[in-house]
Symmetry: C2
Amino acid sequence: MHDAAIAALSDLLGDRLVTTRADRELHGQNETYYPLTLPDAVAYPESTEEVSAILKICNEHLCPVVAYGAASSLEGQHLAVRGGISLDMNRMNKLLKVNAEDLNAVVQPGLTRLTLNEELRATGLFFPVDPGADASIGGMTATRASGTTAVRYGTMRENILAMEAVLADGTIVRTGSQARKSATGYDLTHLLVGSEGTLAIITELTVRLQGQPEAISAATCRFDSVEDAVNCVILTIQSGLPMARIELLDQNMVKGFNKYANAGLPETPHLFLEFHGTPAGVAEQSETFGAIAEDFGAQDFKTATKTEDRNALWAMRHKAHYASAALGDGGHLMTTDVCVPISRLAEAVTQSQEAAGRYGLCVTIVGHVGDGNFHCGISLDPTNDEELKRGKAFSAELNELALRVGGTVSGEHGIGVGKQAYMEAEHGSALIMMRAIKTALDPKNILNPGKMLPSNA
Amino acid sequence: MHDAAIAALSDLLGDRLVTTRADRELHGQNETYYPLTLPDAVAYPESTEEVSAILKICNEHLCPVVAYGAASSLEGQHLAVRGGISLDMNRMNKLLKVNAEDLNAVVQPGLTRLTLNEELRATGLFFPVDPGADASIGGMTATRASGTTAVRYGTMRENILAMEAVLADGTIVRTGSQARKSATGYDLTHLLVGSEGTLAIITELTVRLQGQPEAISAATCRFDSVEDAVNCVILTIQSGLPMARIELLDQNMVKGFNKYANAGLPETPHLFLEFHGTPAGVAEQSETFGAIAEDFGAQDFKTATKTEDRNALWAMRHKAHYASAALGDGGHLMTTDVCVPISRLAEAVTQSQEAAGRYGLCVTIVGHVGDGNFHCGISLDPTNDEELKRGKAFSAELNELALRVGGTVSGEHGIGVGKQAYMEAEHGSALIMMRAIKTALDPKNILNPGKMLPSNA
């Protein structure tokens, strides 16, 4: 397939256009339940100009192009479901510039968030978005990633100031500016954030940075019921407390951590928290939260101010995927996420638990509940059709529940191939707008075809 | 002109389709230097369905439609420069719902921000975006407004969760959801925020609300030079102090307030500030700011904690437009704004002052400097061609300066008719994307033609 495009790309890139089975397999894998999906070839561009040249060739030959970063996407966004080229951005992984005075940095899309933060350490600044995985900044942008700190610092939507990107026909564009805000022109930056590589290939990003807080304090506490935990979260957010992190773990998730990481936690719902600010501010926040939590019967309120204790806590939290998988027999996991208005969070979480029981599934719930966003980790064997069917039925019910209460079928994992069936239900006639934009910007549908938009075959 | 469309609209709307000279004149005026620009008729829709029916008719008859709210736009956005219909949204001005638990409200576009805040008073919540004028929420959205509090609470970009809008062909769409974040589909909400009525007509908005801070304290201080004042701002922002407001007034602006409002201030550059938080937090912020300001030679640091004193301060600040106009002979003002990276703010402000002198113009500088955004108020007589020419030459130099330092030609006033000449310089090939989107969504170019995009004739 796509022999003419591959030949032309080979002329352009030499040995940076690879068609070996091994490399195609590597780029066809994913972290969740989607089957191995091979691209026809893998391209390794090293510059924006090369990305432009690649897209020109692919556009001419109607050859699909799918950007590939850290492959940590959870709805199959990086899989070449219509064949074509896996565009591996990992050689474009430099931190180009830190504008410390302007609290931003210019990065290439292949740079991962942990490497960025490592390189920023001496500046006293950090990049706050934390989806757990060490994702690439480009991939995080394309999927509108968020994570544990979004409740305080926003998602990728709030943290991208400007971009360079390449359109389907090879045109290189720049969106946004180095200024913190602008009222000029259409907001192309935000149009590309979350577009899952279907409108353009991102080649450079200006990301907002934050000053390291003077003081950080983490805490954990536990509740008798998930309702108590969630209602505590709701009141905390409504009180305007500037939580840096507020994460819910249901009793199954705690079991998973006990099994996978020997956490030794009592197996009841927990909140994991973090406060950022001045020393006095952090103390005040912690005290205010403590008073709210007490009203909901919180027990074992423990704080961790030492860096190593905090790091250990969040390192464990970030293993939720594997800890959930560990609860099942085969170690496999179907993972999903929804986001609901915070006023409906308690009912959404408890109804999800009820549904899991009804389907006879082992499901963990963990989430960025300050945003109304939670994940269900469904332990199942993806090669067992019957189990997979039950998993999908549960997931469908979860999505319908989210929409029924005014929410969205994904707070952070995105649509990819997994959730296209819900685009119509969630967006209705706005899909007409989305399709018109897609057709206008990528008339030959070479950019990540088969993703996001249900008609994008 | 557009007789067929007007006849059909008249059948639809009865006496809510008005063609009197008086009404057309009212809708053809503006706050700044653009000449009177008459629409052919004024329509007063009362529902989304009516807006849809109006657009269907206008699309069929190729009749331009320009949304009209409080007419407080400053770059002529609401003027029907190609004739057609002024779509007066002021009858769609209801607060439809307050979702206090979710910290949002659903409003119609004609509701003004002060009325919204008045209606919210009993809830303990407020809508934070404050551009000064009592603009309509729909208009603020369409121009991506910001203002004095954007440094803390963001611009309209950060404060719109969801929308209902009508496309050129009458299709009604809903964007976003009631959840705080989503990773599904293209970000149509942000595409419409700042689109100046050129892509769709907004008919309903879900806006984010904030809890009233427990404590608020305002302050003023003055500096020997504008560089000292700006450098104080830069360090304050870089320190991560969560300023709620931080406004610069240069010496001319202070003169204007003395003349217009008998402010009795020493005629040197000032900062007007506001701190929001807990009582302890506000005290800590104020103290930290005071220490920074002292390093830059600040004098007369005065705080105002009483509501009436704070209100008087900001009421005066919001009269900057009129106070600037008062400095000139005829009371007329050309106003402009740019936004630059904060590291370049001091040079941008001082170069603007230098340029004003060079052009022999009386220019005030006032701005939301925490965002790098400042305004120049140019006193001139718009009927004096020579003065207008100098004013425009100064404004051109200011825009070029903003772009040279990595900024944008408008932080909040937008493009409208006034700044189209800079779209190419600021956005380059990204204009191709903007034009493609405009053509895809409004192929007959009936939505606010002649605005924003230079080719949008």
